[in-house]
């Protein structure tokens, strides 16, 4: 809501600069802190930075690793980001991913005789339906019974993982999978392959499309406007006659569908079956991505690629610098703490303020 004294939104370049300068500055500060950590551990910080760059963004080969790491994070981040615009803090991403993966597996095995395109489409729909229903339940409990959505989402993660464990050890188990209980696997033709001849799978495309969809939905439609209004002031939204519960549950369904799709990609592109490797922590990493991206669709893609790059460079620090395996978690922690802290600095610097008149 600009005051008449300010130039129109399109010409306000200073806040735009602020939105870029603050995170970039935060990353630089993080590099400095991490450099000190490396020096203490006996590694030359400059060669460590060079190695991180080489292993994450330095060549097409290593950038593929970064993109593979980023793909599931984009989808799971949306599970927190979408409901967050209505003021809900949903952290049931891991559970939604697992349920989506299970639903996709069940559907894929049931459709094993269908042509690959049909079977994969059914799996996508089943994965989204499974994940959507899981987080939809969180929304339903919140709006109908007043249950705290953060707690119910967290607890449903444990329920989902227990259900996964039960199913792959029992009803869905392939008796030939002796020492690592798993479901039956899909035929190779019914798996989601790589993009062209690269190592990157189609999960990345799903993620980017879903993130762009989320961005358009939230920033450029009336649905998104209503959702943001609820997030801004729920009482005002109710007074204005908005169907708060319906919008909220719908958004939860969409967020859950994104995480469920991530689960579908895990089973269809990577494991070829369901087993306990499905719960690999992508859901929890997605929460971090969503917060750092301030719940916006497009920044989520960037932040997921950044985190993917950080994770992809973890190995080289161990193999070539003999740093401990937790080093990359230290780096990740420092980077994200700095970015989150920089959030509190918006509006603190005079140089980023528009001059009135």
């Amino acid at each position: 809501m600009s005051t008449p004294a300010l130039p129109p939104t399109s010409r306000r370049w200073r806040p735009a600069l602020e939105a870029v300068a603050l995170p970039v500055g935060a990353v630089l500060v993080a590099l400095l802190l991490f450099g000190v950590f490396c020096a203490v551990q006996g590694a030359n910080p400059l060669s460590v930075f060079k190695a991180i760059q080489r292993a994450s963004f330095g060549s097409w080969y290593s950038f593929q690793n970064t993109l593979i790491r980023a793909a599931p994070l984009i989808l799971t981040a949306l599970c927190t980001a979408l409901p967050a615009r209505l003021g809900l803090i949903v952290i049931g991403n891991e559970g939604a991913l697992v349920v989506g993966g299970l639903a996709a597996t069940a559907a894929g095995l049931a459709a094993a005789s269908a042509p690959p395109v049909v079977a994969l489409t059914i799996m996508v729909l089943a994965g989204m339906a499974g994940g959507g229903a899981w987080i939809g339940l969180v929304g339903l409990l919140h709006y109908q019974r007043g249950v705290n959505e953060t707690i119910s989402g967290l607890l449903l993660n444990y329920v989902a993982i227990a259900v996964l464990s039960h199913l792959v050890n029992g009803p869905m188990r392939d008796p030939a999978s002796l020492n690592k209980p798993s479901s039956y696997s899909f035929a190779e033709t019914h798996q989601l392959g790589g993009i062209a001849s690269s190592n990157v799978h189609y999960g990345l495309v799903f993620g980017v499309v879903f993130a762009v969809f989320a961005w358009v939905l939230m920033e450029h439609t009336t649905f998104g406007f209503k959702a943001r209004m609820i997030g801004g002031n729920i009482r005002a939204a109710r007074m204005a006659g908005l169907p708060v519960a319906r919008l909220g549950i719908t958004t939860c369904l969409l967020g859950g569908a994104a995480a469920g799709l991530a689960g579908m990609v895990e089973v269809a592109a990577i494991h070829g079956r369901a087993n306990e490797s499905l719960a690999a922590g992508y859901g929890y990493a997605g929460i971090l991505v969503a917060f750092v991206a301030r719940f916006r669709g497009l920044p989520i893609i960037l932040v997921a690629v950044l985190l993917g790059g950080i994770l992809a460079s973890g190995g080289i620090l161990q193999r070539q610098f003999k740093l401990p395996d937790a080093t990359i978690l230290v780096f990740q922690g420092i980077v994200f703490l700095c970015i989150l802290f920089s959030d509190s600095l918006y509006g603190r610097f005079a140089c980023f303020k528009e001059k009135t008149a």
Binding site: A55, G272, A280, I316, D325
Partner: protein, 367 residues
């Protein structure tokens, strides 16, 4: 003169570079957990440290690599960036789909997997698998436990009711019963490979029920050994020597000796042998005799009689006169497994799909 010198220098530099390149065979090791877990991953990392001593070899390690695309990424990096010609992805869950996928992309690299899943009809020819008959060492530890227990109650904390684990539980009970026919083994399944809190709780609850010798089959026995020592009961270890964690109560333990296995493989690859050509066998197994497994040095609480019986069993297993799984054998629901006179030898495939617990084990196979 100046020219000759610089030329000479250049030639020396070139030859050292070539020598360094030719002299070093690059080998990669991948672990699912930390290298210092007093457990499975440490045993593997000790194997890696063991072959590092070979002057013509350079080994790189990466720890805490989950069973996701991260495992594929690490294998590719070891090949592309460090030029590895031999890779040991050591976690059981790395095999399908991760090793299978990367092995197809790099047919010249040898992939060796711990756990014994190779199937010539289904898997790429440059993949092989190896495993040790660690139940032999567990059986010997069971003898020591059977001698040492006063209550006759032994406790076994296990991750999951899968064949590899059930085989160890059964071997432990059979070892203990061979010297103490009244001994029982109470089993607790924690449900996962590394859940230290549940493992500590299970140890405490078993000790409260009167169990006075504990053992386990989880990724890291550390917390179980420490809990036993703190509560003043005995413990036998698994994966690596845990004596440091329990100087008083540590009796002995079943240990892996991967250095032997990895040295054999590295030398074969250096000699130009490959899995695809069939000059390296696709399936390699071994027990006490082959030096794949061993038992920890006896602790201070082990009696002379226990040592004597344990050593006799060890000798019997090595020369083949002692068979662990032989009839008459019943499971703990009363069903007959083996009639008198029949036996499963170590390499018998029936043992690799074991789904039963022998009579004397308290607990079910459903977890």
């Amino acid at each position: 003169m100046k020219h000759t010198r610089s030329l000479l220098l250049f030639a020396t530099a070139l030859s050292t570079a070539v020598a360094a390149f030719a002299a070093e065979m690059s080998v990669g090791f991948i672990y699912v957990g930390p290298k210092d877990d007093y457990g499975y991953n440490q045993s593997q990392s000790e194997g890696c440290a063991g072959i590092q001593k070979l002057p013509w070899l350079k080994a790189t390690e990466e720890a805490s690599v989950p069973e996701t695309t991260a495992a594929q990424e690490t294998m590719r990096n070891m090949i592309e960036l460090e030029g590895a010609s031999l890779i040991f992805p050591t976690s059981f869950g790395y095999f399908d789909p991760h090793i299978l996928k990367v092995a197809k992309q790099y047919p010249k690299v040898q992939f060796l997997h711990c756990g014994g899943l190779y199937d010539a009809t289904k898997h790429p020819a440059n993949v092989g698998s190896y495993f040790g008959y660690i139940d032999e060492a567990v059986y010997v530890a069971g003898i020591v436990a059977g001698h040492t227990t006063k209550s006759g109650k032994l406790g076994f904390i296990a991750a999951k009711p899968i064949p590899q684990v059930l085989r160890n539980i059964n071997a432990y009970l059979l070892g203990a019963r061979s010297v103490n026919p009244a001994a029982t083994v109470q089993v607790v399944f924690t449900g996962d490979w590394s859940v230290p809190v549940k493992e500590a709780e299970s140890a405490t609850s078993l000790i409260n029920q009167g169990v006075d010798v504990l053992t386990c089959h989880v990724d890291s026995p550390k917390v179980i050994i420490e809990t036993a020592e703190r509560r003043g009961v005995y413990v036998t270890g698994y994966h690596v020597n845990g004596a440091k964690l329990a100087p008083k109560g540590y009796l002995t333990g079943a240990e892996w000796n991967w250095t032997k296995v990895y040295t054999d493989y590295a030398e074969a690859v250096k000699a130009g042998k490959t899995l695809a050509a069939g000059t390296i066998p696709h399936l390699v197994r071994g027990g006490l005799k082959e030096g794949f497994v061993s038992i920890s040095p006896y602790g201070p609480a082990v009696s002379a009689a226990a040592k004597k019986d344990a050593e006799a069993a060890k000798a019997g297993l090595i020369e083949g006169s002692l068979v662990i799984f032989k009839g008459p054998l019943k499971d703990n629901t009363g069903k007959e497994i083996l009639p008198a006179g029949k036996a499963y030898l170590q390499q018998d495939l029936a043992l690799e799909s074991m789904g039963w617990l022998v009579d004397g084990v308290i607990g079910g196979t459903k977890g």
